[in-house]
């Protein structure tokens, strides 16, 4: 253990792998020194584990109805109570984590790369390419995200896939703006000029030199956005435009629990807790990542 640590922290690495792993190790240890960030990381890991092992953890089926048992308060048999169709809420929340994780990951995987490339290309080339791309980006940015997502889902039809596409469409413009701003800060710096002097193609400069410098701020922004994405998905689900019944999507669960909120508070509140905790987890992690990856401080690590 100690030998590995020494290898990672070596002053003069002897291979590319050692250098890269050493850097990653320093970043991770710096992150873990922050208690809130660690908490966030733990929450996310629990979310991932829950989603992966849902069939093993959930005591009941998420869609199995038992009308005799409807609207039972939390008890030893049903930790979070049952909903209006007698389904165990705890199991539904657990299976719902899969949906939440799927939405969040797919949106991030779709929108972040698009935004990154649009922003970097825009910032690097400038001129009319910049004007056109940022014009398009601004059009998307000028509309409120939830309304835009609503419009897309209404056009494409309800369903979880369309919800994901709709949210991704509203998310990428912000990333494009960030990537462009980052690119502009070092676009004229000497190390870019040096690569250009080597006869590198624009594609190479952007992919190998500019994108790596944008990734830190991108990772931070995406992580912080995940809370917002969860809430947007929940919002869509709440209105009935996201995941359709009987899928245990947390937002849809809250929506259905609205009618019983006064007497059977647990039906709406339990999934609500789940959303809050997961959102907080992403926020803490994102803040921690920003402290660790921020270029101003990161260079000194």
């Amino acid at each position: 253990m100690a030998a590995t640590r020494e290898w990672l922290l070596a002053d003069s690495p002897t291979s590319r792998l050692q250098a890269r792993m050493g850097r990653a190790y320093r970043i991770v240890t710096a992150l873990l020194r922050n208690p809130l960030a660690t908490l966030g990381l733990v929450i996310i890991l629990v979310l991932v584990a829950t989603a992966l092992f849902a069939p093993l953890i959930a005591p009941y089926s998420p869609i199995g109805q038992e009308l005799a048992n409807r609207l039972q308060p939390p008890s030893w048999q049903h930790w979070m109570g049952t909903d209006e169709l007698g389904r165990d809420i705890y199991s539904r929340v657990i299976y719902g984590s899969r949906i939440t994780l799927t939405i969040v990951l797919l949106v991030a995987v779709i929108s972040a790369p698009i935004g990154l490339v649009v922003g970097a290309v825009s910032g690097y080339f400038g001129g009319w390419i910049d004007k056109v791309m940022m014009g398009i980006t601004d059009v998307f940015l000028s509309m409120p995200k939830l309304i835009l997502a609503l419009a897309f889902v209404a056009a494409l039809g309800p369903g979880i896939e369309n919800a994901i596409i709709a949210i991704a469409i509203t998310a990428w413009p912000a990333y494009a703006r960030i990537a462009r701003a980052e690119t502009l800060t070092f676009r004229n710096s000497e190390f870019i000029a040096a690569v250009q002097m080597q006869g590198a193609s624009s594609a190479r400069v952007i992919v190998a030199h500019i994108l790596p410098l944008c990734t830190s701020s991108m990772i931070i922004r995406v992580t912080l956005d995940m809370a917002g994405i969860i809430l947007t998905a929940a919002g869509l689900g709440f209105i009935g435009l996201g995941a359709q019944p009987p899928l245990p999507e947390w937002g849809a669960m809250i929506s259905r629990g609205r009618t019983f909120i006064l007497d059977q508070w647990w039906v709406a509140t339990m999934p609500g807790f789940a959303i809050i905790i997961v959102s907080l987890g992403f926020c803490f992690l994102g803040d921690g990542l920003r402290d660790v990856l921020d270029p101003r401080q990161g260079e000194n690590s």
């Binding site: 002053d11 003069s12 690495p13 002897t14 291979s15 590319r16 050692q18 250098a19 850097r23 710096s189 000497e190 190390f191 000029a193 040096a194 690569v195 250009q196 002097m197 080597q198 006869g199 590198a200 190479r204 190998a208 030199h209 790596p212 410098l213 270029p295 260079e299 000194n300």
Partner: protein, 246 residues
């Protein structure tokens, strides 16, 4: 055939003209200093020769081939540039190995590992620096890496933009010695931009003095050393730099 040749070159940034009718020649194997104060246009000329995003009219040729906008791979193997700021000329997220290996990758040159190690040795850097990141190196060490990078493609012409201005005196001496040695070993042509006249005395054979975008004097370095520059502005510069009047 001169290594670098400028004929009546006007360079503009947008609508503003920055240099006016610049003309001079640098012979192959010569070390030529381009001197002037800020705003004189000296760095602009360097960038125009390098092809780094300026619009110009006139004729520029390097090693006999006329220059155009932009940088193609053939030009990259003939002429390279060493930049001023050791803190800004290396990509912060790439190891020294990656930075030095990049030009080889772009041009499909093999045997990278050995070439990189040989170059590190040539610029006086120990092997243990190979996989470090730039922030783990001092200013002088970074500048050595910058010089190594410029020489990876074995160019014949080296453009130097104030290569030691950002360095301490003691480090400057080391880098100047290194540049002189490399030039002698590889018979390189230098075109060096600087505002520091004593550096020109040490490193250059001839120099041109620029002011407000115009070349006002081209002289042999002997005239600089003996304080016998002709133009009154050149003499002013000489005295302000601490030269003893002759």
């Amino acid at each position: 055939m001169s290594a670098i040749s400028l004929d009546n070159v006007d360079i503009s940034y947008g609508d503003t003209k920055v240099t006016f009718g610049a003309s001079f020649d640098v012979a192959a194997g010569e070390s030529f200093g381009l001197v002037g104060e800020s705003g004189s246009g000296k760095s602009t000329i360097l960038r125009a020769i390098a092809g780094l995003g300026t619009t110009w009219t006139g004729a520029i040729s390097v090693l006999g081939k006329p220059r155009r906008q932009g940088i193609d791979k053939t030009f990259a193997r003939q002429c390279q540039m060493v930049f001023q700021d050791p803190y800004g000329s290396l990509h912060p997220r790439k190891t020294i190995d990656a930075t030095l290996g990049e030009p080889l990758q772009v041009h499909g040159i093999g045997n990278r590992g050995n070439r990189i190690e040989a170059m590190l040795e040539a610029v006086g850097l120990d092997r243990r620096f190979r996989f470090r990141y730039p922030h783990q190196l001092s200013g002088g060490q970074r500048q050595r890496v910058a010089i190594a990078r410029a020489l990876m493609l074995e160019p014949k012409v080296l453009l130097l933009d104030e290569p030691t201005s950002a360095l301490d005196v003691s480090v400057q001496a080391e880098i100047l010695n290194l540049l002189k040695r490399l030039r002698q070993e590889q018979n390189l042509t230098f075109l060096m931009v600087t505002h520091n006249l004593p550096v020109v005395s040490f490193l250059c054979d001839r120099l041109a003095v620029m002011r407000h975008g115009r070349i006002i004097e081209v002289a042999d370095v002997g005239l600089l050393k003996s304080g016998k520059l002709v133009d009154p502005y050149s003499r002013e510069l000489y005295q302000a730099s601490g030269g003893k009047s002759s």
